[in-house]
C-alpha cells in the first residue's frame, strides 16, 4: 500500500525509517492546503455568528479549541445564548457529536501500528478528528508508510486547528458584522466542500452508496425523528449501503 503518489519525493521510496518528528513536519506542511483555507473561511463565518450572539472572545476561542467540530460548536453556541441548562446543553451537543465515534473508529486501523502505538497517543490524535481532517486522512494516509501516519495526522490536525484558532480570533476582533450575503456565502461553503471532498475520499462503491443514502435519509430522519436523526441516518443508511454492496460483491454467501 505504500505506492508513492509523488515520485519526485525519493525519501518515500527508501526503506530507511523516517523519524516521527519529520512525519509530523510533513503533516504540518501538507496542512497548507485548500481544505484548511475552506475550513478557516467557515470559522470566520462562525466568528461573526458568535459575536452577534453575544459571546466573548475568550468563550468563542475556548469552544473553537476544545470542541473542534463546527456543527457541535454551532449547537453549543445556540445553547449558551438561549440560557439552556448544563444537562440539556450537554445532551444536545453529545447528539450532534455522535458521528465522531464511527469516524474515529474507521481511522484507527489506518494510524495504529499494532503492538507499538500507545493508547494515549491515539487519544491525543483523536481530538483532531473532525470532518476536514478525517476526509483528508482517509484519502491520503493509505499512501504513506504505516509508521508515518500517526505523526503525520497529528502534525496536520495540530497545524490546521492552530491556524483556524488564530484566524477565528482575528476575525472576531476585526469584523463587527459581516454583510448578510457574505455570511450566507460562508455558511454554504461547508456543505459544498464536505460534499465534494467526501466523494473524493470514498474508495469503495460501499462508501459512495452510503454517501447517497445519507444525503437522502438525513432530512427525512430530521423531520420525523429530530434529536437522534444523525445517528439513525448513519446506522440505517450505512447498513443499507453495506448490505446492498456486499450482496452485489459476493451474492448470498
Amino acid at each position: 500500500m505504500t505506492v508513492p503518489e509523488r515520485p519526485e519525493r525519493p525519501e518515500l521510496l527508501t526503506d530507511t525509517p523516517v523519524p516521527g518528528r519529520i512525519w509530523m513536519l510533513r503533516g504540518a506542511r501538507a496542512a497548507i492546503s485548500i481544505p484548511a483555507l475552506i475550513l478557516t473561511a467557515a470559522f470566520v463565518g462562525y466568528a461573526g455568528l458568535a459575536r452577534e450572539t453575544g459571546l466573548t472572545l475568550a468563550e468563542t476561542l475556548a469552544m473553537t479549541g476544545l470542541v473542534w467540530a463546527l456543527p457541535s460548536v454551532v449547537v453549543l453556541t445556540g445553547a449558551l445564548s438561549s440560557g439552556m441548562g448544563l444537562l440539556p446543553a450537554g445532551i444536545a451537543v453529545a447528539l450532534a457529536s455522535v458521528r465522531l465515534m464511527p469516524m474515529t473508529m474507521a481511522l484507527m486501523p489506518l494510524i495504529k501500528v499494532p503492538g507499538k502505538t500507545r493508547n494515549w497517543q491515539l487519544l491525543i490524535a483523536s481530538h483532531f478528528v473532525a470532518v476536514t481532517a478525517w476526509v483528508y486522512a482517509m484519502k491520503h494516509l493509505p499512501d504513506l508508510p504505516k509508521e508515518g501516519r500517526l505523526p503525520f495526522f497529528v502534525g496536520f490536525g495540530g497545524s490546521v486547528s492552530s491556524f483556524v484558532f488564530c484566524m477565528t480570533a482575528i476575525a472576531y476582533l476585526l469584523v463587527e458584522r459581516l454583510p448578510d450575503i457574505v455570511a450566507g456565502a460562508l455558511f454554504l461553503l461547508t456543505p459544498v466542500y464536505f460534499l465534494c471532498s467526501l466523494w473524493g475520499a470514498s474508495r469503495l462503491n460501499a462508501d459512495r452508496v452510503a454517501m447517497i443514502a445519507g444525503l437522502a435519509l438525513g432530512p427525512l430522519f430530521f423531520i420525523y425523528f429530530p434529536g437522534l436523526d444523525l445517528l439513525w441516518t448513519g446506522l440505517v443508511g450505512g447498513t443499507l449501503a453495506y448490505v446492498g454492496t456486499r450482496l452485489y460483491r459476493r451474492g448470498l454467501t
Binding site: 486501523p109 483523536s126 481530538h127 454554504l188 470514498s202 438525513g218 450505512g238 447498513t239
Partner: protein
C-alpha cells in the same frame, strides 16, 4: 443557587463549554479510539463502520443545505440546491477538483442572490 444567578457569573459559560462542549464531544472520539482499536484494516467490519460514518457525514451535509442556520435560511431552497448541484457538477467536470466545485457553487449562489435582490 438558581440557574439565573449561575449564568451571571463570569466562569459559568466556561463550565458549560468544558462539560457540555468539550467532554460531550471528545467522549465520542475516545470511545472511537477504544472501539476502533481492534478493527482490522482489511476487515468487513471496518467497511460497515466506514459506511455508517460516511452516511452520518452525508446526513450533516444535506441538513446544512436544506435546513441552514443564520442568514442562509432566508434564501430560497431551490437556490441552495441548484448552487450545490452546479458545484458538484463542476467538481466532476474538473476531474474531481474540490476547489472548482466549491467556487462554482459560491459563484452561482452569489449571482442568484444578487439577481433575486434586484428583482424583489
Amino acid at each position: 443557587m438558581t440557574d439565573v444567578l449561575l449564568a451571571e457569573t463570569w466562569w459559568w459559560p466556561f463550565v458549560m463549554i468544558i462539560v457540555a462542549g468539550w467532554l460531550a464531544t471528545d467522549v465520542w472520539r475516545w470511545l472511537g479510539v477504544f472501539a476502533g482499536g481492534r478493527l482490522r484494516e482489511d476487515g468487513e467490519l471496518l467497511i460497515w463502520v466506514r459506511c455508517v460514518a460516511t452516511a452520518l457525514v452525508a446526513g450533516v451535509i444535506s441538513k446544512l443545505i436544506l435546513f441552514p442556520q443564520g442568514v442562509l435560511a432566508d434564501t430560497p431552497i431551490w437556490l441552495r440546491l441548484a448552487a450545490t448541484g452546479v458545484g458538484f457538477a463542476a467538481f466532476f467536470a474538473a476531474r474531481q477538483r474540490v476547489v472548482v466545485g466549491v467556487l462554482s457553487a459560491e459563484a452561482f449562489l452569489l449571482c442568484g442572490w444578487l439577481a433575486l435582490d434586484k428583482l424583489g
